[in-house]
């Protein structure tokens, strides 16, 4: 991490020094030539004047970029600062990534455009800002957002912005000077051609100088620009590598890039000056200005391919390995050998089968990722219910319900919310591994096959599998929903989070006690609690319910003691896990 920062700094100093040298030489040549044109002496005071003039122009432009740079860029892009409460998830993601990078948290800006894109700006980590379009914040999942933000934090951490801005200013100044010189040559020649007051005095030196300067003036801007573009592309690769290093989860950024590239919308506020800052070139292939400005970013397909190939770890060296394996990018290493070996052994996030998983928090879905080309069907064939779990983060219970599997799989025993049956993950895993190995030898479950893996497709297929012909719901948010055809659909409401669910695991609809009467439409005809109060619960003066000593579960007949301090309107029977409704609210 730190080696990379140092490496980038050294490279940047060299770049700036190199470009500055070009600028100085240019200034000297032009200056000398201009004066020599007058008096035929070479070298002359013109060299000094030229150099000084060049440096002044450079200083002025640099100061403009230094002080006003981010405000200008943010202004161009119509970015508005946001607070935590405006976009809590985005804010949290930025905070998380700044912690992972060990940097102070940058300011967060929102661009009101539905084309997904993002950029970072700011000359030091302390003064940095990250801007994200509304399209990006809405269209990307949390992991993808993390990948993108980590890429931008990478730019900030590696000091890309400062140096690329300064280099850009240099390139611009060089181009300006050369342009001016060549124009004046072109016009001046016409007028002054006859008035060669230098005459024969050192004439040939002047001619040589003239030729040299013209050649230099033509080549320098081209060379400077090419250098700038090459460095810019390298920095983009490194930022991708840094994103992997920070999140330890390459598929996040990979699928984010896929989503962004697939989006045909044009980012309106991007222009020539700011295009290079964005994570994905905002100028789309179907736009006319595409060809001229494409070189600041490496080809998107390559970036995605590299990310999808990484399987050995999360450090720079692993990114480089993947990059070399596909043959993308420059032939030499992006960084020095010493830098690459600094953080060897940094691991990707992996789950039980060595397949990298998402690091969501507790209560979120574990989405596996990694270079495997297994469809959900294949995984299910090979691994049974574990297969679909790996595909979509759920375990398929025999009752047809999806059981949420906690992310880090610390808990190896999970209970189906609908039918209460216990799943022992460890046992199933062992079975699955044994089966997979028996089926096709070791490595049957490829963790490093290097092929592509489409998480979205797999999740969709898993969804389809679990709901044969049933209406698709929002998926992960509706864990309590039961509408598999094996179970009688119990009047499920259309929008799960809003409604109160009813469980119907025994599949006989009729005996289940409903506990929702706000939006339910129950075609099966179920018993409703009598007068809404089957246990005869009274309410005392404060409005608190007074419960009897014990209640009999209407489903399984168990005697249940009600715990002290319990005040709810319903609760599950600890024997059969059926919901017992005490009273309707």
């Amino acid at each position: 991490m730190w080696e990379l920062i140092e490496f980038n700094k050294r490279q940047s100093y060299l770049l700036i020094a190199g470009l500055a040298l070009i600028l100085i030489i240019l200034g000297a040549l032009i200056g000398t030539l201009s004066v020599a044109y007058g008096n035929g002496e070479v070298p002359n005071v013109g060299s000094a004047i030229g150099i000084v003039a060049a440096i002044i122009i450079w200083t002025v432009s640099s100061m403009g970029a230094w002080y006003g740079g981010d405000r200008m860029v943010l202004g161009f892009s119509k970015a508005k600062p946001i607070k935590h409460s405006d976009y809590p998830q985005l804010w949290n993601v930025v905070e998380e990534m700044s912690i992972a990078a060990g940097l102070p948290m940058p300011k967060v800006y929102m661009i009101d455009d539905s084309a997904p894109n993002a950029f970072a700006t700011g000359r030091t980590p302390e003064t940095a800002s990250i801007a994200v379009t509304k399209g990006l914040a809405d269209k990307l999942t949390r992991d993808e957002l993390q990948g993108v933000v980590a890429h931008e934090m990478g730019h900030i951490r590696n000091r890309d912005i400062l140096f690329m801005t300064l280099a850009g200013v240099l390139v611009g100044t060089i181009a300006l000077l050369c342009d001016y010189f060549l124009r004046s040559m072109y016009f001046g020649r016409g007028r002054r051609g006859s008035r060669r007051s230098g005459g024969g005095k050192g004439g040939w030196v002047v001619v040589v100088l003239l030729v040299a300067t013209v050649v230099f003036a033509i080549l320098a801007p081209v060379f400077a620009r090419l250098l700038y573009m090459a460095i810019s592309r390298r920095r983009e690769y490194l930022a991708d590598a840094t994103s992997v290093e920070l999140t330890r989860y390459p598929p996040g950024l990979a699928s984010a890039l896929e989503k962004i590239s697939g989006d045909k919308e044009v980012l309106e506020v991007a222009n020539r000056a700011t295009a290079h800052l964005y994570i994905v070139n905002p100028i789309k292939p179907h736009e006319e200005r595409y060809k001229k400005l494409t070189s600041t970013h490496p080809p998107l397909k390559e970036r995605i391919a590299i990310l999808r190939t990484i399987a050995t770890g999360a450090a720079i060296i692993d990114y480089e390995r993947a990059r070399r394996a596909i043959g993308a990018g420059p032939k030499k290493s992006l960084v020095s050998q010493k830098t690459m070996h600094e953080a060897e052994g940094v691991e990707l996030k992996t789950g039980p089968l060595g397949i990298p998983v998402e690091q969501g928090a507790q209560g979120t879905i574990s989405r596996p990722a990694g270079p495997t080309k297994m469809t959900p069907d294949m995984l299910f064939e090979k691994l049974g219910p574990m297969g679909t779990m790996l595909a979509s983060g759920f375990l398929m219970c025999a009752c047809g319900e999806k059981v949420l599997v906690p992310t880090s799989l610390d808990k190896m025993i999970v209970q189906c919310a609908a039918c209460g049956s216990i799943h022992n993950l460890q046992a199933q895993l062992d079975q699955a591994k044994a089966a997979a190995q028996a089926a096709s030898g070791a490595g049957a479950v490829p963790a490093t096959s290097g092929e592509d893996y489409d998480v979205e497709k797999m999740a969709q297929a898993a969804d389809d599998y679990s709901r044969p012909g049933g209406p698709g719901t929002a998926g992960v948010e509706t864990k309590g929903k039961v509408d598999d055809s094996r179970l009688k659909p119990a009047g499920s409401t259309g929008d799960a989070p809003a409604g109160k669910e009813s469980y119907d695991p025994t599949g006989d609809g009729g005996k289940a006690v409903r506990f929702s009467d706000e939006e339910d439409a129950s075609p099966e005809g179920t018993e409703a609690p009598e007068e809404g109060n089957p246990f005869g619960i009274a309410f005392d003066a404060d409005g608190d319910p007074v419960y009897p000593e014990s209640v009999v579960c209407p489903h399984c007949g168990e005697d249940l003691k009600i715990p002290d301090g319990f005040k709810g309107s319903r609760g599950p029977c600890s024997h059969c896990r059926e919901m017992i409704v005490f009273f309707e609210i």
Partner: protein, 190 residues
């Protein structure tokens, strides 16, 4: 005679170079050790944040999950243990936080039984905050462990370990919150 002088000068130069290298290495270790301390402070901040968020969650969730007293009590107890362990360094806090993780996992799993809980706006916001806090703990732990790895590697390498020994730089502990004995959390099987 000139040879003797040349040798002496050579030795003198070598000596100066060695001293400079020594100083450089020492300063580097100081920097790295401070990085480690700083990274630990970050984790501490996030851990405390989680400790503070838990009572809120338990409050909101209690109304819906009245039957799950045991689970909620586990969480509160684990939280108290973790708070008690704060300030005792990576090893002890690692164990305490692992216990809290387990308790929270149990609670989240049980929360899946109560879909109306998800509908509650407060709970949804709290969930996002908790998700974010867990992530922050994970990332600050990652950063801390990376700093520790770099520092430990640095002070172990030859010849720099001479400087380390001399300057009293000791290896730092990693912060692991995976617990060694995986006990399956209690699930009501009655």
């Amino acid at each position: 005679m000139p040879i003797a002088i040349a040798v002496m000068v050579g030795c003198g130069v070598l000596f100066v170079v060695a001293i400079l290298w020594f100083i450089g290495a020492y300063n580097r270790f100081v920097g790295m050790r401070n990085n480690v301390k700083n990274a630990w402070a970050q984790i501490d901040v996030q851990l405390k944040r989680r400790h503070d968020l838990i009572p809120n969650l338990v409050e909101v969730v209690k109304d819906y999950m009245g039957f799950e007293q045991e689970t909620l009590e586990n969480v509160t107890k684990a939280r108290n243990v973790a708070m008690g362990a704060s300030g005792q360094g990576p090893g002890a806090q690692g164990k305490a936080e692992a216990g809290l993780n387990r308790a929270l996992q149990g609670m989240y799993l049980v929360m899946e039984n109560y879909p109306e809980l998800k509908a509650n706006q407060n709970v949804a916001q709290l969930q996002e905050e908790l998700v974010s806090t867990e992530n922050k703990i994970a990332y600050s732990r990652q950063f801390y462990n990376d700093s520790v790895m770099r520092y430990n590697t640095g002070i172990q390498k030859i010849p720099a370990n001479i400087v380390a020994g001399f300057g009293g730089f000791r290896e730092e502990e990693f912060f692991e919150i995976e617990d060694s004995e995986r006990e399956a959390p209690k699930v009501d099987l009655r």
